[in-house]
């Protein structure tokens, strides 16, 4: 495929990417070669320390690769300047296992913050936030504080915050890690809906039930190496 064309199809591309945190240590990622297409839903599975989080941090440019190149939305992250990193991140939503909500702000304020800090006009915030909260199933809970919500609801707030700016990519780092199976299913339905709007989703997880149910593309990392890349895959190939 022509490289010029490739950048329109692959939203994320890893080109022989290695990441070594400490000199002499085992690499957290080892020569990863991976392409994620627009609108794809990708599970990144593997044990703790297999390199899933490092992968996500490289996409966000919180880390730079030791070797190789990372492309996001056609841009080589090694060439974009430091002050343009915020613009890159505006196109990427991120969700974490621990929700990372601000306890002293209401549900509405937590979601609105994401738009306010990138300078969106007030009328845009006022119309987009309720719409997004409704989409994630939190209509009527705008004025609640995070501690008044269940874990699943808190994660929905976090997803609303990540998605409120309509990013092209959503990264999820163990989003169901703190939730019970029933609640997790609800969160996965929500992510699936977001995926259907055309948003590319990369989800790091070791929740085998979810992966087996969803039947999406699965990339398995073991000690920083991609050992399996399977369309409509399951968590463990051997099971």
């Amino acid at each position: 495929m022509l490289p010029r064309l490739a950048r329109f199809i692959h939203v994320i591309r890893f080109q022989k990417v290695s990441k070594v945190y400490a000199r002499g240590a085992r690499p957290a990622l080892d020569r990863i070669e991976l392409e994620v297409e627009r609108g794809e839903f990708l599970f990144l599975v593997g044990a703790s320390g297999s390199g899933k989080s490092t992968f996500l941090r490289l996409v966000l440019r919180e880390e730079r690769p030791t070797k190789g190149k990372v492309f996001v939305a056609g841009k080589d992250l090694s060439t974009i300047s430091q002050w343009k990193v915020p613009h890159l991140r505006r196109g990427i939503g991120t969700v974490f296992q621990d929700f990372r909500l601000l306890e002293n702000k209401t549900v509405y304020e937590n979601v609105a913050l994401a738009l306010q800090v990138i300078g969106k006009p007030r009328h845009h915030v006022a119309s987009t936030v309720p719409e997004t909260l409704e989409m994630v199933g939190l209509a009527g809970k705008e004025k609640r504080f995070p501690h008044e919500l269940s874990g699943g609801e808190q994660q929905r707030v976090a997803i609303a915050r990540a998605f409120v700016n309509r990013p092209g990519i959503l990264l999820a780092d163990e989003p169901t890690g703190n939730l019970d199976p029933t609640t997790s299913v609800g969160i996965m339905r929500l992510l699936d809906r977001i995926n259907r709007t055309g948003t590319t989703i990369v989800m790091a997880t070791h929740d085998d039930e979810i992966v087996d149910q969803m039947r999406k593309r699965v990339v398995e990392l073991v000690d920083g190496q991609a050992v399996r890349d399977q369309a409509r895959g399951v968590y463990g190939a051997e099971r």
């Binding site: 430091q82 002050w83 991140r89 306010q116 990138i118």
Partner: protein
């Protein structure tokens, strides 16, 4: 939206770290007060020099008939000797320094003497014959006294050369020492202010690290993240500057205008107008303090 959001963040930070913000304000207040005092004392010195150096002159006293000075060994100055000294003073070589030479005769000296001390019993017994003749020399630049003194002192018939300016020197010396003391304290307090503002911003940044990490994650620009912290420092420092200006204004208003100027009417003192003149300087220094502190602390604690 942006402005309101940034200000809300900033005031929230000030509220959370109120004690620190107040201490920043007070330290800035004290340091800028000393800076202002040093500047005002220098302005006072300049005022006095302007006023008094025009009036001061170099007096060349000629020998009276009973002087013990070695240059007066031959007795009272003769007319030729007096003419010779005048010639030197009015010569081309000194014309660059000498503005005007005024001859004060014995009679005139007696008159001035009587005017000053005439009501005293002993003074009325002093006769014109006991006075001495002198040349009063005004200079273009009073600082060039030494050149003139070197030319005429030591000549026969010249008893002594007196620089009236020398009378003022001790006063200026005291004022200059006050300036140095004030500036020294200002320097120490300014350093304290920078360190304190740095600490305040750091604490503020730490207490909001979760917030800033989320802001970074959703793509807020560095400037946007750091602005509230910078404003916190700047507001505290500006409040300190405002206090310093107020303090100096009251000081000058009550101490100088209300008391010194009443007691010493012949001195042209600094006034509250001068305080307003240096106000922008103090505000500028306050902003500079906050800016330097922000740069030092923020680059380290709120990195992307």
């Amino acid at each position: 939206m942006r402005v309101r959001f940034v200000l809300a963040n900033c005031f929230q930070g000030l509220r959370r770290n109120l004690a620190m913000a107040v201490s920043v304000m007070l330290v800035t207040f004290v340091s800028l007060t000393f800076v202002g005092a040093a500047v005002l004392v220098q302005m006072q010195i300049a005022n006095m020099k302007d006023d008094w150096y025009d009036a001061v002159e170099v007096s060349v006293f000629l020998c009276p008939d009973s002087s013990s000075a070695p240059t007066c060994a031959s007795g009272e100055v003769t007319d030729e000797q007096a003419a010779e000294v005048l010639e030197v003073l009015e010569s081309d070589s000194l014309s660059a320094y000498v503005d005007e030479v005024y001859t004060e005769t014995k009679e005139e000296a007696h008159e001035a003497f009587q005017e000053q001390f005439g009501d005293q019993d002993w003074a009325s017994r002093v006769t014109a014959e006991q006075m001495q003749m002198s040349y009063r020399v005004s200079l273009h630049d009073p600082e060039q006294y030494q050149v003139v003194a070197d030319e005429v002192s030591g000549r026969t018939g010249v008893e002594s050369v007196v620089d009236q300016r020398a009378i003022l020197e001790p006063l200026f010396l005291v004022l200059n020492r006050v300036t140095a003391l004030s500036a020294g304290l200002a320097a120490v307090m300014t350093l304290t202010a920078v360190l304190l503002i740095t600490t305040t911003i750091r604490l503020s940044a730490m207490s909001r690290s979760k917030e800033t990490s989320i802001m970074r994650l959703v793509g807020a620009s560095n400037f946007f993240i750091q602005l509230p912290f910078m404003l916190e420092g700047a507001i505290a420092a500006l409040a300190g500057a405002a206090l310093a200006i107020t303090g100096l204004w009251f000081g000058v208003n009550y101490l100088v205008e209300g008391w010194l100027a009443e007691s010493f009417v012949w001195v042209n003192f600094v006034d509250t107008g001068d305080v307003w003149t240096i106000a922008p300087l103090l505000i500028g220094i306050g902003i500079l303090l906050a800016a330097i502190s922000s740069l030092v602390s923020l680059s380290r604690y709120t990195r992307v």
